[in-house]
Symmetry: C2
């Protein structure tokens, strides 16, 4: 099996390592940053150095594109221009509609492994990064069954669990379970930074848990917010509506509405998270 990895950071490096170790693949790799290619060679992530992006993907059966979400639409287009006809091309961006919309190529299927979104550097790449992880695949109507099948097989070989999902639903889901918690965390720390509280703030565990991701890597997260701005905007509208309802119950002094709302949250939490912690 011949695999090409475009973008040799933490995620791309881990895919390369896992493809070599777990799928017995021969792996080529490319990165706009020459130092990243050096690191990949040094750490045995790729079999050999290529002279160009074109050469990297020329022989590939599967191409993984692991770049920041903002640069994905253009990079995917570039890869599709030079990849073989019978190749499967996928990406690992954490939002999918933008990149899926940009391409109606039968070789392309959107992907998103749940393996962290922080840029922590290629040197921390690991072959076991995806062991047991959910790996969303968001095929479009134009995606060929063979491309989807080939990517799915390789994802399984990388020891992840492929989960097929509509690109819109994927993005709406990520807006709620990933981006909204980041937005809420940012709001909480900003709101606690008030002169009145200076010297008195003693943050308990609920505040610490809720703000752990506040101010996460700005370059990465601005990119994510922007690339998913439709779904995140809708999720924010919905959150604002929910908060307004709580506000109204407080104004009305209606304890029974608050109790019912809190009971509903307890049921929802059990339903969502039970057995997953």
């Amino acid at each position: 099996l011949r695999v090409a990895v475009v973008g040799l950071g933490w995620i791309g490096g881990s895919i390369a390592l896992a493809a070599r170790e777990h799928a017995g693949a021969s792996v080529t790799g490319w990165d706009a940053d020459v130092a990243a290619i050096d690191t990949a060679v040094e750490h045995g992530m790729i079999d050999r150095r290529s002279a160009s992006l074109e050469e990297t993907v020329a022989d590939a059966e599967v191409v993984f594109i692991a770049a920041p979400v903002g640069s994905l639409p253009e990079l995917v287009a570039q890869v599709l221009r030079c990849a073989p006809d019978d190749c499967a091309v996928t990406d690992v961006g954490s939002t999918k509609r933008t990149v899926v919309d940009a391409h109606s190529d039968p070789r392309f299927v959107g992907g998103h492994p749940l393996a962290g979104s922080e840029a922590i550097g290629a040197v921390n790449a690991r072959a076991d990064m995806f062991d047991g992880a959910t790996w969303y695949l968001t095929p479009a109507g134009t995606t060929s069954a063979s491309a989807l099948g080939r990517v799915r097989e390789l994802v399984v070989a990388l020891r992840a669990n492929p989960v097929e999902l509509d690109a819109d639903v994927h993005d709406e889901l990520m807006a709620v379970v990933s981006q909204l918690p980041h937005v809420f965390a940012n709001v909480l720390v900003a709101q606690a930074t008030d002169a009145r509280f200076a010297g008195h703030l003693e943050a308990g565990p609920s505040f610490r848990d809720a703000t752990r991701v506040a101010g996460a890597n700005t370059a990465v997260w601005t990119d994510i917010y922007m690339s998913n701005r439709d779904a995140l905007g809708t999720a924010l509208d919905e959150a604002i509506t929910r908060l307004t309802h709580v506000r109204e119950a407080l104004t009305a002094g209606d304890a029974s509405v608050l109790a019912q709302w809190n009971d509903g949250a307890a049921v929802a939490r059990r339903h969502l998270l039970e057995g997953r912690e």
Copy 2:
């Protein structure tokens, strides 16, 4: 030193134990529930059984009232009616304006130990519950210096750190660092419970951290929300305004506003939590 504890649950029981063990106090106790008094006697929390609330506080130098916030204003009034003239009376409610407003008695000073808010039962009471914990004290203009001094000394003897704070600022602070994270957690789980996401939701660490307190004990938390509804209402208004600004930046597609906002959150988080984790 003669200490009386009114309300022998988890917090009250721990105060009684700590007062006996760390302050060498003789402790009387009372609870509306006779079984709670039995437990307190059995676990050596109190020195002797009293026949009534009146008898419990008759000789006390300091009275701690450890009851749900909703019942505090009335219970504090009841204790003040029968406590000695030179006694100090304090409570442990997690919101302070309501109870402080209800009493302009020189013997009374509001208090709030940060030791968890869940009703986990008197049998889990521990003498070391308050070791190193912040214990807010919110004296009013009417509070006598001797009452404040006596409560403060005992709080130190219980091994907690007394922090004096205006009752309004205390409630505004708790709205932001404790109640708002609970409200956000409830909103997140409700929003993730959408038929579109059924079977696809794979909650990552940011979602799990942000929703750990969702649907916390409804009786306790409805009481807390209601007793702090002015400050929480204001905090919610401010949160909604902040979320609306993020929404507007998304609509405008303004990456620089989002980047600046996220950088601000990173600074705020470091400022608030550094050295506290």
